[in-house]
Symmetry: C2
Subunit: 153 residues, 2 copies
DNA sequence: TATTGTTATACTCTATAACTATA
DNA sequence: TATAGTTATAGAGTATAACAATA
């Protein structure tokens, strides 16, 4: 006798997942926004800050402090684009690449813990159903819609 | 070749669901926080503000402005508890009860739109899997974990 | 003295618009 | 003049602590 639909359950479980993930990566001194940026720079290196802002659906001004923090920690490097000296080309440093491995391990542990109640087959089913929904709802793969509202120094 | 796990998909689809729901109820001039409060008052009328705050996992001070707004619109009523005049007993007004019907319709439309990609059987499967996860993760039925971070005048 | 609800303060986060440097 | 990045300002939202009324 719960009476709550799948939409509410999705929002509830999804917020819980995001919260638990934030707690896990906090142990690496990272915020969700920082991880999102790191992932994007790792996947497509050399992009400008504005290009990245557009892909994340956030505003370019937000990236300044975000990149500043990761650059000071030696995780990201700002390379000037020789062709157009107005643009930066963002890339991961050696330490940044090493950190990505730790983030991957954290993500896998998070994944296992979150779906601990499911069997292997149920996990595959859930993944397939979520993918169907995400596809039909036109969600960009790898981009968290709530990115705008996630803090990150 | 997406490579994103169910945990990320859950967070992504969940945030999308919450966002779309917020847009729908905005047409009723309501915020997610206000709907959460209305639902709780409708389910268990007569509770004090502190009791409600505890159930929502938020702080009592936040409820003041929240209740103020709904009271001024004639949706919620503050009744003084005769036994202990420090406490209020929050209840829905006639208009408040009517509004709950409209919220229910909005929620159902939201539910259908969000799961439009799924068959009837797939919807039942998704609901069962999400319930399993929510139960194992000790999530309180009907309480959105991200309630703390939802605005509401 | 303890508790309910309220108010006040400071703090964080975001968004908008100006500014610089390059083109 | 147009664009990338930066900075500055104001606004919204939250949390903490103090306050008044009642017990």
């Amino acid at each position: 006798m719960h009476g709550f639909g799948s939409a509410f359950l999705l929002a509830q479980v999804g917020a819980h997942a995001a919260q638990r993930f934030a707690e896990r990566i906090a142990e690496l001194d990272l915020t969700p926004a920082q991880v999102g940026l790191l992932r994007l720079v790792a996947t497509r290196p050399g992009q400008s800050q504005q290009a990245i802002a557009a892909q994340l659906g956030t505003q370019p001004t937000r990236l300044v402090a975000l990149v500043d923090g990761l650059e000071k920690r030696g995780l990201i490097e700002r390379h000037r684009n020789p062709g157009d000296r107005r643009l930066y080309a963002l890339e991961l440093s050696e330490d940044g690449r090493a950190l990505m491995s730790r983030i991957a391990l954290t993500s896998m542990a998070h994944e296992r813990a979150l779906t601990a109640a499911l069997t292997e087959g149920e996990r595959a089913t859930l993944h397939a159903l979520l993918t169907k929904i995400a596809d039909e709802q036109d969600l960009t793969p790898g981009v968290h819609p709530g990115y705008t509202r996630l803090k990150g120094s």
